[in-house]
């Protein structure tokens, strides 16, 4: 089956969807390549990345198309005609066959690309521009296109001349909407790949830049401009993205997030420096970047606070700044704060949350207080997974083991406290787990363990045939 073909093949009369054997029969020396849909999608998305330089609103029109909303952007490139020329030429040079058109509605522009590439249609001229095109240019699907032809409607103009309720009755509401959009009556909103950032600043270079110092300098200038424009509206950035557009079309975007809104360009500067230093695959300038864009994709209103003379508030700010810097270096998910959770289940009692987003909560968290003269009842850290231990015998029914084997070493139990009985939360997903009896154990060498028996004797643990078996024992953590 033919998935795609080039112009020469098309001229020979081959068509998409044709069985390969037929095509070979028509053209014996046909060159065939396996279709790779994933690679095609990747290429399209790469091109879309590259197109970000023209407008932030780029939408995919799968499988082969892109919509660019250039409202208000064209003058930056010397007008619509110049923009179109630049875009087509650049893509052409990279070896892509491009057909492009500009029109007031996305559907109309798409129709144009199929028949008259390079056309620019002024507002209101849509209907006239596509009047003479065959109905297939609308891209409405095989059934409808054939249906229209059978009805004797050969051109879009023919279809447009019929009253719309006739069209709707025959070909469905969806087609009549498509037609209306193509004729410039209303428009289908395009679905941009990325949400429009709140603030964007960018710098283009006539001569591509490649050195680290130049990049750093550019970023810090952009940061100044960005901050200045955000400051006017009292905003601070929570999420910043720097996009580097390489001359050969590759785009690299680098994101940093912060725990609190950033209002100083020095901070942005520093965060990006940390991030760039720590990149696993460093920024590769190749032949240089011809454009750098800095955008704030998430912003917040900054409340100017009256500072206490007391230094505590500042302490907090400094912790937040430190977390932001470390997160920029090693990734936001790896810097965590611990939040106490209201449950008896040991594994769930503490939640490690991303520090940038939960710092305030962690500062106010109320941990269960230990009464004086009480020993710590649980280890500070638990094992990721409880480790099984071998227990030859234990006091029945509620007692601790007398000795156990853990990691191939035998430990004789000298001191015991417990049991602390923890029944699983039956209303949770994993509530079918067994009741656990936890013991704090000290062995002959003074090592302290937190071990538990998974399940009660008589009644909770069974083998495959429903006969009761002895429950298993596990170590869940060590006391310091």
């Amino acid at each position: 089956m033919i998935h795609a073909l080039d112009e020469a093949a098309e001229r020979l009369g081959l068509y998409i969807g044709q069985p390969l054997a037929n095509a070979r029969a028509m053209c014996p020396d046909l060159k065939v390549f396996d279709a790779d849909v994933a690679a095609d999608a990747k290429t399209l998305s790469d091109i879309a990345d590259w197109c970000d330089r023209f407008t932030p609103l780029v939408a995919l029109d799968v499988p082969h198309g892109l919509f660019l909303d250039i409202t208000g952007c064209a003058h930056l490139f010397g007008g619509e005609a110049a923009l179109l020329r630049t875009l087509v030429r650049a893509l052409d040079r990279q070896g892509f066959a491009v057909s492009a058109a500009i029109a007031g509605t996305s559907v109309c522009a798409r129709t144009l690309t199929r028949q008259a590439t390079g056309t620019i249609v002024a507002d209101g001229g849509e209907a006239a521009a596509i009047d003479q095109f065959p109905v297939s240019a609308l891209g409405a699907g095989e059934a409808i296109t054939t249906g229209l032809r059978r009805a004797g409607l050969k051109t879009i103009g023919d279809v447009a001349s019929r009253s719309s309720h006739e069209i709707t009755a025959r070909f469905g509401a969806r087609f009549s909407t498509l037609l209306a959009h193509a004729l410039g009556q209303g428009d289908a909103p395009i679905n941009p790949r990325k949400p429009l950032p709140d603030y964007i600043v960018e710098k283009r270079f006539a001569e591509p830049i490649a050195t680290d110092t130049m990049i750093a300098m550019t970023l810090s200038r952009l940061a100044d401009t960005l901050i200045a424009s955000m400051e006017k509206q009292g905003k601070g950035a929570r999420r910043l993205e720097a996009a580097f557009f390489r001359t050969d079309g590759v785009v690299r975007a680098i994101t940093v997030e912060t725990g609190r809104p950033v209002t100083r360009s020095a901070v942005i500067d520093r965060l990006f420096r940390e991030r760039l230093d720590a990149l696993a695959d460093p920024l590769d300038p190749g032949f240089g970047f011809d454009m750098v864009r800095l955008s704030a994709s998430r912003t917040e209103i900054v409340v100017q606070e009256q500072r206490d003379l007391d230094a505590h508030v500042h302490d907090n700010d400094e912790i937040a700044a430190l977390i932001d810097r470390i997160a920029a270096r090693i990734g936001g998910k790896r810097v965590v704060v611990h939040l106490p959770q209201d449950t008896h289940i040991p594994e769930r009692a503490v939640w490690s949350a991303p520090a940038q987003h939960h710092l305030a909560a962690a500062m106010q968290a109320e941990w269960p207080v230990r009464t004086e003269s009480e020993p710590p009842l649980r280890p500070l850290r638990l094992f990721d997974k409880p480790e099984p231990i071998k227990v030859p015998f234990a006091t029945v029914p509620d007692g601790p083991p007398h000795q156990f084997t853990w990691r191939r070493a035998l430990h004789a139990v000298v001191r015991v406290e417990g049991p602390e009985r923890i029944a699983m939360e039956w209303w949770q997903q994993d509530g079918k787990q067994l009741t656990r009896d936890y013991f704090r154990i000290e062995d002959a060498e003074g090592l302290r363990f937190w071990i538990f028996r998974d399940g009660l004797y008589e009644g909770e643990t069974f083998d495959g045939e429903g006969k009761p078996v002895s429950p298993n024992w596990y170590v869940h953590g060590l006391f310091a």
Binding site: Q341, D342, T343, H344, I345, T371, E374, L377, P397, D398, E417, G418, P419, E420, R421, I422, A423, E425, W426, W427, T435, D437, Y438, R440, L456, G459
Partner: protein
């Protein structure tokens, strides 16, 4: 099964509103199955549950008829730990009823809302003649206060005073038992084992947890550590 030489005297039934998870009859059957010689029903400030338990003894399915002890758990409004009260004779039973009536009806000056029971420690002392009294203590308790209460109970005209010792399965049972033992020795009262039972079978735990949620006006997802997830005061058998 051998008969355990143990009588459960701290049973809370569903006549303690939103606290007990099982019907008094269920306890009678469970005691019969487990072969427990005696059970003591002690509901929160009421004797209402004992009637059903007593009637159930006539049921033919109850093979081992446990001796039924009739009592009540007196819960005070003044912060005194709960005391289980078991009258020794008919006259003492009357006094217990009088005590409960006072708690529920109030005196001539104050009226008590229906469903509530306002009793102070002094009220119990007044009606203590001929009663068997068992002081129960929460997981964490103040030894000085407990000692004071025990001394006053012993000083009253009660027929006997005990200190309840139960396992709460919070990990520090041994230390707690040692403290209770100290306390009992100092106060010169014997220790009495009880499980402070809330439901008759482990399968009742979900019901018990839901009751707790209703009582605390919460939901099962939000209740968190308020629920007694560590409690296993289940069947009377764990001894």
């Amino acid at each position: 099964m051998t008969t355990p030489a143990y009588a459960e005297i701290g049973i809370t039934t569903n006549f303690s509103f939103l606290r007990g998870g099982s019907d008094p009859r269920a306890y009678v059957h469970q005691a019969s199955i487990l072969g427990i010689p005696a059970i003591g029903i002690a509901d929160h400030n009421t004797l209402a549950g004992v009637v059903r338990a007593y009637k159930e003894l006539d049921n033919d399915k109850v093979l081992h008829k446990p001796k039924l002890l009739i009592g009540a758990r007196i819960v005070f409004v003044d912060g005194t730990p709960d005391v289980l009260v078991y009258p020794r004779d008919r006259a003492a039973y009357g006094r217990l009823c009088q005590l409960l009536t006072r708690g529920k009806r109030g005196d001539d000056i104050t009226r008590i809302e229906k469903g509530e029971c306002h009793l102070a420690f002094a009220d119990l002392l007044e009606f203590s003649e001929g009663q068997l009294l068992v002081l129960t203590l929460p997981h964490r308790f103040d030894p000085a206060q407990a000692l004071d209460v025990l001394a006053k109970l012993k000083g009253s005209r009660a027929a006997g005073v005990w200190l309840a010792a139960s396992l709460v399965y919070r990990g520090d049972d041994r230390r707690r038992l040692a403290r209770l033992d100290d306390l009992a020795t100092t106060a010169k009262v014997p220790l009495l084992a009880t499980n402070e039972v809330l439901y008759h079978h482990p399968g009742r735990r979900p019901l018990q947890d839901v009751l707790t949620c209703i009582r605390e006006k919460s939901t099962i997802d939000a209740i968190g550590r308020n629920i007694s997830a560590a409690r296993s005061t289940t069947s009377c058998a764990r001894r």
